[in-house]
Protein backbone atom coordinates (compact mmCIF):
# COMPACT_ATOMS: atom_id res chain seq x y z
CA UNK A 1 0.00 0.00 0.00
CA UNK A 2 1.63 3.23 -1.12
CA UNK A 3 -0.94 5.89 -0.37
CA UNK A 4 0.61 9.33 -0.08
CA UNK A 5 1.47 10.55 3.39
CA UNK A 6 -1.10 12.87 4.93
CA UNK A 7 0.35 16.31 5.67
CA UNK A 8 -0.58 18.22 8.81
CA UNK A 9 -3.50 20.57 8.18
CA UNK A 10 -3.03 22.51 11.41
CA UNK A 11 -0.17 24.31 13.12
CA UNK A 12 0.65 24.81 16.76
CA UNK A 13 -1.62 27.54 18.12
CA UNK A 14 -4.43 26.90 15.62
CA UNK A 15 -7.95 26.76 16.95
CA UNK A 16 -9.63 23.48 16.08
CA UNK A 17 -13.00 21.93 16.74
CA UNK A 18 -13.56 18.23 17.33
CA UNK A 19 -16.13 16.85 14.92
CA UNK A 20 -19.47 16.11 16.54
CA UNK A 21 -19.81 12.61 15.20
CA UNK A 22 -20.91 9.28 16.64
CA UNK A 23 -19.79 6.67 14.11
CA UNK A 24 -20.21 3.01 14.97
CA UNK A 25 -17.13 0.87 15.48
CA UNK A 26 -13.86 1.62 17.23
CA UNK A 27 -13.48 5.35 17.84
CA UNK A 28 -10.38 6.90 19.38
CA UNK A 29 -11.79 10.30 20.29
CA UNK A 30 -13.39 10.64 23.73
CA UNK A 31 -17.07 11.45 23.72
CA UNK A 32 -16.76 14.38 26.11
CA UNK A 33 -14.62 16.50 23.79
CA UNK A 34 -16.66 16.04 20.60
CA UNK A 35 -18.10 19.27 19.33
CA UNK A 36 -15.76 21.35 21.51
CA UNK A 37 -13.01 23.70 20.42
CA UNK A 38 -9.43 23.79 21.63
CA UNK A 39 -5.95 24.89 20.62
CA UNK A 40 -3.24 22.78 18.98
CA UNK A 41 -0.54 22.43 21.64
CA UNK A 42 1.80 20.26 19.54
CA UNK A 43 1.97 17.99 16.55
CA UNK A 44 2.85 14.55 17.89
CA UNK A 45 3.80 13.00 14.55
CA UNK A 46 2.12 10.71 12.06
CA UNK A 47 0.76 7.32 13.01
CA UNK A 48 -1.29 4.53 11.43
CA UNK A 49 -4.99 5.15 12.01
CA UNK A 50 -5.93 3.16 15.15
CA UNK A 51 -9.57 3.10 14.07
CA UNK A 52 -8.42 0.95 11.13
CA UNK A 53 -5.81 -1.04 13.05
CA UNK A 54 -8.64 -2.08 15.35
CA UNK A 55 -10.04 -4.19 12.50
CA UNK A 56 -6.73 -5.78 11.57
CA UNK A 57 -6.12 -3.45 8.65
CA UNK A 58 -2.85 -1.52 8.14
CA UNK A 59 -4.24 1.95 8.92
CA UNK A 60 -2.13 3.55 6.21
CA UNK A 61 -1.18 6.13 5.22
CA UNK A 62 -0.16 7.41 8.66
CA UNK A 63 -2.12 10.47 9.67
CA UNK A 64 -1.09 13.45 11.82
CA UNK A 65 -1.85 13.27 15.53
CA UNK A 66 -2.22 16.45 17.57
CA UNK A 67 -2.24 17.24 21.23
CA UNK A 68 -5.16 19.61 21.65
CA UNK A 69 -5.60 21.76 24.75
CA UNK A 70 -9.10 22.48 26.01
CA UNK A 71 -10.26 24.73 28.81
CA UNK A 72 -12.03 22.57 31.38
CA UNK A 73 -14.76 25.16 31.70
CA UNK A 74 -15.37 24.85 27.94
CA UNK A 75 -15.82 21.08 28.25
CA UNK A 76 -17.91 21.20 31.40
CA UNK A 77 -20.06 24.32 31.89
CA UNK A 78 -20.39 23.62 35.61
CA UNK A 79 -16.63 23.17 36.13
CA UNK A 80 -15.96 24.75 39.53
CA UNK A 81 -12.18 24.51 39.91
CA UNK A 82 -9.62 27.04 38.64
CA UNK A 83 -10.95 28.82 35.53
CA UNK A 84 -7.67 28.39 33.65
CA UNK A 85 -7.43 24.61 34.22
CA UNK A 86 -6.92 22.71 30.99
CA UNK A 87 -7.10 19.16 29.73
CA UNK A 88 -4.99 17.96 26.82
CA UNK A 89 -6.20 15.19 24.53
CA UNK A 90 -4.38 13.53 21.65
CA UNK A 91 -6.65 13.57 18.61
CA UNK A 92 -6.09 12.41 15.03
CA UNK A 93 -6.47 14.85 12.17
CA UNK A 94 -9.58 13.28 10.67
CA UNK A 95 -11.46 14.19 13.85
CA UNK A 96 -10.56 17.89 13.66
CA UNK A 97 -11.84 20.83 11.66
CA UNK A 98 -10.86 24.51 11.71
CA UNK A 99 -12.57 26.46 14.48
CA UNK A 100 -13.64 30.07 14.50
CA UNK A 101 -11.27 32.97 15.10
CA UNK A 102 -8.80 32.51 17.94
CA UNK A 103 -10.23 33.39 21.30
CA UNK A 104 -6.87 34.23 22.91
CA UNK A 105 -5.12 30.86 22.46
CA UNK A 106 -4.14 29.45 25.79
CA UNK A 107 -0.52 30.02 26.65
CA UNK A 108 0.27 31.53 23.25
CA UNK A 109 2.82 34.32 23.30
CA UNK A 110 2.05 36.59 20.39
Amino acid sequence: MTAAAVDPAFRVGDRVRVRRSDPPGHVRTPFYCRGHSGTVERICGRFPNPEELAYGRPGLPPIPLYRVRFLCRDLWPDYAEHPSDVVEIEIFQHWLEPAAAPAAPIGAKR
Binding site: H26, V27, P30, F31, Y32, E51, A54, W76
Partner: protein, 125 residues
Protein backbone atom coordinates in the same frame (compact mmCIF):
# COMPACT_ATOMS: atom_id res chain seq x y z
CA UNK B 1 -25.41 2.06 30.41
CA UNK B 2 -24.47 5.66 30.05
CA UNK B 3 -27.73 6.44 28.37
CA UNK B 4 -26.00 8.71 25.85
CA UNK B 5 -26.23 7.57 22.23
CA UNK B 6 -22.85 7.18 20.61
CA UNK B 7 -21.01 6.91 23.91
CA UNK B 8 -19.42 3.53 24.44
CA UNK B 9 -19.52 1.63 27.70
CA UNK B 10 -15.77 2.19 28.06
CA UNK B 11 -15.87 5.90 27.27
CA UNK B 12 -16.12 7.24 30.81
CA UNK B 13 -13.74 10.20 30.55
CA UNK B 14 -15.24 13.22 32.27
CA UNK B 15 -17.95 11.22 34.01
CA UNK B 16 -18.42 11.43 37.78
CA UNK B 17 -16.38 8.68 39.42
CA UNK B 18 -15.91 7.20 42.88
CA UNK B 19 -12.71 7.83 44.79
CA UNK B 20 -9.64 6.11 43.38
CA UNK B 21 -7.74 3.62 45.51
CA UNK B 22 -4.07 4.47 44.89
CA UNK B 23 -2.69 1.41 46.70
CA UNK B 24 -0.86 -1.25 44.77
CA UNK B 25 -3.18 -4.08 43.81
CA UNK B 26 -1.71 -7.57 44.06
CA UNK B 27 -2.16 -9.58 40.88
CA UNK B 28 -3.08 -13.22 40.59
CA UNK B 29 -0.64 -15.48 38.77
CA UNK B 30 -3.05 -16.00 35.87
CA UNK B 31 -3.32 -12.24 35.45
CA UNK B 32 0.46 -12.00 35.02
CA UNK B 33 0.25 -14.72 32.41
CA UNK B 34 -2.43 -12.84 30.49
CA UNK B 35 -0.22 -9.75 30.56
CA UNK B 36 2.76 -11.74 29.31
CA UNK B 37 0.65 -13.31 26.56
CA UNK B 38 -0.37 -9.88 25.36
CA UNK B 39 3.27 -8.75 25.18
CA UNK B 40 4.24 -11.82 23.19
CA UNK B 41 1.29 -11.70 20.80
CA UNK B 42 1.63 -7.98 20.09
CA UNK B 43 5.30 -8.35 19.24
CA UNK B 44 6.24 -5.84 21.90
CA UNK B 45 8.81 -8.22 23.33
CA UNK B 46 10.80 -8.23 20.10
CA UNK B 47 10.65 -4.60 19.24
CA UNK B 48 9.67 -1.40 21.04
CA UNK B 49 8.25 -0.33 17.68
CA UNK B 50 5.03 -2.30 17.61
CA UNK B 51 4.15 -1.02 14.14
CA UNK B 52 7.41 -2.31 12.74
CA UNK B 53 6.96 -5.60 14.54
CA UNK B 54 3.51 -5.93 13.04
CA UNK B 55 4.78 -5.29 9.52
CA UNK B 56 7.51 -7.84 10.07
CA UNK B 57 4.90 -10.42 10.98
CA UNK B 58 6.07 -10.62 14.58
CA UNK B 59 2.70 -9.53 15.93
CA UNK B 60 -0.42 -11.71 15.92
CA UNK B 61 -2.58 -8.93 17.25
CA UNK B 62 -2.69 -5.19 17.80
CA UNK B 63 -3.64 -3.47 21.02
CA UNK B 64 -6.20 -1.56 18.95
CA UNK B 65 -7.95 -4.86 18.16
CA UNK B 66 -8.01 -5.68 21.85
CA UNK B 67 -9.59 -2.34 22.64
CA UNK B 68 -12.28 -2.90 20.02
CA UNK B 69 -13.08 -6.33 21.44
CA UNK B 70 -13.36 -4.96 24.97
CA UNK B 71 -15.59 -2.11 23.82
CA UNK B 72 -17.87 -4.65 22.15
CA UNK B 73 -18.55 -6.49 25.40
CA UNK B 74 -22.11 -6.00 26.49
CA UNK B 75 -22.54 -3.55 29.34
CA UNK B 76 -23.32 -6.37 31.76
CA UNK B 77 -20.20 -8.38 30.88
CA UNK B 78 -18.11 -5.23 30.86
CA UNK B 79 -19.28 -4.36 34.34
CA UNK B 80 -18.88 -7.84 35.80
CA UNK B 81 -15.52 -8.83 34.34
CA UNK B 82 -12.28 -7.84 36.02
CA UNK B 83 -9.63 -5.98 34.08
CA UNK B 84 -7.67 -9.07 33.04
CA UNK B 85 -10.80 -11.07 32.40
CA UNK B 86 -11.64 -8.49 29.76
CA UNK B 87 -8.15 -8.78 28.31
CA UNK B 88 -8.37 -12.56 28.26
CA UNK B 89 -11.75 -12.47 26.52
CA UNK B 90 -10.49 -9.93 23.98
CA UNK B 91 -7.29 -11.85 23.18
CA UNK B 92 -9.35 -14.96 22.47
CA UNK B 93 -11.75 -12.92 20.31
CA UNK B 94 -9.00 -11.45 18.15
CA UNK B 95 -7.22 -14.78 17.70
CA UNK B 96 -10.49 -16.45 16.71
CA UNK B 97 -11.22 -13.69 14.22
CA UNK B 98 -7.84 -13.91 12.57
CA UNK B 99 -7.82 -17.71 12.49
CA UNK B 100 -4.85 -18.22 14.80
CA UNK B 101 -7.04 -20.51 16.91
CA UNK B 102 -10.36 -22.19 16.26
CA UNK B 103 -13.42 -22.32 18.47
CA UNK B 104 -12.93 -26.08 18.76
CA UNK B 105 -9.38 -25.63 20.05
CA UNK B 106 -10.47 -22.99 22.51
CA UNK B 107 -13.36 -25.13 23.72
CA UNK B 108 -11.03 -28.07 24.25
CA UNK B 109 -8.67 -25.95 26.33
CA UNK B 110 -11.54 -24.66 28.43
CA UNK B 111 -12.88 -28.10 29.34
CA UNK B 112 -12.47 -29.03 32.98
CA UNK B 113 -9.09 -30.58 33.57
CA UNK B 114 -8.90 -34.33 34.00
CA UNK B 115 -9.15 -35.44 37.59
CA UNK B 116 -5.92 -35.38 39.54
CA UNK B 117 -4.09 -38.71 39.94
CA UNK B 118 -5.83 -40.82 42.47
CA UNK B 119 -9.15 -39.21 41.72
CA UNK B 120 -12.26 -40.99 40.55
CA UNK B 121 -11.69 -43.52 37.82
CA UNK B 122 -13.20 -43.52 34.37
CA UNK B 123 -12.68 -39.85 33.56
CA UNK B 124 -10.51 -40.67 30.58
CA UNK B 125 -6.80 -40.25 30.22
Amino acid sequence: MSGVAGKGIHDVGGDPAPACDPDDHPHEYWERRVDALMVLLSGAARSPDVAAASRAGAALLRVDQIRRQIEALGSRAYGEMSYYERWSHAIAGVLLESGVITTAELARCMEPRAAAPGGSAGAGS
